[in-house]
Amino acid sequence: MLPHTDDALLSPRTAPFTVFWRYVWMILVEHMQSQRIVIAWGSAVAVAVVILRDSTTSATIMGTWALYAIFIALYNTSVLADTAEQPFHIQRLLAVQSRRMFLWAYMSAALLVSLSCQLILMLVSLLVAPIARPDLGVLLASIPSIVLMLATATTCMILLTPLVSSAVQRISVLLLIALPIAWGSIAPRIMPAGTLHISAVLNTFFGVMLWPSLHLYARAITPDWSPTTIIVYGIHIGLCCFFTLIATRWFMRKHISNS
């Protein structure tokens, strides 16, 4: 119990940085108390036990880790963004020192939950598939790629949530991601016969656009420290910053619904 006292003198507030991490901690504790985290952690255990059990090659394991990193980041970000939208959190939005802090706290929490899921997946799969265990050096070298993939997927997914974007913005972002990925498959079906050269140009353009992310994905499975990899890391750090900047701008302008 808090002690009872009537002294009402206001004292200086703590530094914003401290409040930020306290808020992140509060979000994580609530996420655990609401048991939503069980689904995320459960999925990590399930993937390891069901899919990776008795795997024989380290490439299989690391390929699954890389793919899982993308999906778990998308899932956790959407769940936490949904939590942030609950009407009661409006009182918290007003209590924290800025809207920016509110959004970044949820993004940080989503990244931390995704990291914990990834860690569980890696540990459990090392236990259930001992033959396919990658070398420690390879394992450690793949970690930066996986962390970057988690961060990029988190910042990208936040742009697709109603917390941050309007319907038009969401559709635009979705098209910007889906079109380059799917272009190779849909172009022959939708482009008239005489415009195949345009389709080829677009194919090349989208290929160049997607190359850094495909390279990052490949480096998560077969890590190396070439100059190209360093450039790809740089590109993704820049992408994360860019997505965060856009998400913050959209969130600052957004009407936080209370109904």
Partner: protein
Amino acid sequence: MYAISTTQLAIPQTPIRAVSLHIPVNSCYGIVGASASGKSLLLSTLAGLHGRASAQVYIHGQPSLQVTQQIGYVTPRMQLPAHMTVQQLLQEQGTLLGFDYDTLVNNYQRVLRWCAIEQLATLTIRQLSVFDQRRLLLANAMMARPQVLLIDEPTAGLSAYEQLVMIDVLENLRNRNMSLVIATRGNAPLESLFDLIGILADGQIVSELDAQQIRTLPRTLMIYTSELPSAAHEHIVGIDATIVATQRTIVLTGMAVQSLAQILQVLLHYTVHIFRIEPRNNPLYDLVRQATTPHVLAQLYPPRNITSQINDHTPSLTEA
């Protein structure tokens, strides 16, 4: 300087078209309007929740988006986390506000007392009634000791008794050196709280009533009694031509309400038993109904220079 001010606030694709509000410091302002007139949207915009539109709102002269910690906001749509205790919830709010331990404890004690929920401190939220949760929401918003408290439909979904207790709590908060803005569609007797009322219709504040005008809003009172002796009946009807009296009821309309004390004296004189006295109409609701013809209402109570009204009619506001 005003507690809240905004001029010609417009939000595209919503009912809010041109709202101008200048709410004096430490006053209690009522935004009264029909359903779907945009009251809740206006309140959330004043609270700084509408990124773009809130940029046009100023709290104590500063853009509302920059001073969100000075704003408390409560709406009945908020659902509290059921697994937490009252104490945990308020403690978390204090943590988010960046309070140190002593400040946290002080504010915690204070809001429990102000919102009359001291006895609920150790209960979990799922154990609380809707009414208790509503008071807890108020307490949570009060943790920051805001300069402006915005409350949307404070009595919605409450019983008649709970409404009266809630009005008492709001009356208590009203005297705590802050400005209160309450949005209502006029279905509860909140008029006693207000220093000013703005009628929201057609996307704008079409008319404003000051404290004097609020006091003189047309009311109808019913007095239920035991059987009236004919002498008492004649006496009462003789007080004012508009008084209607039957064998067991007396109806006071308009200015006749002012004769209540005189009528009670007559009833006491003839030893007539009074069962109850109750309002027959709700003045705020009558205003909302009139808001369907805003031009008529605007003629009756035109928006005017609020500062002069405050100085003329409610000098106690500045003292508070």
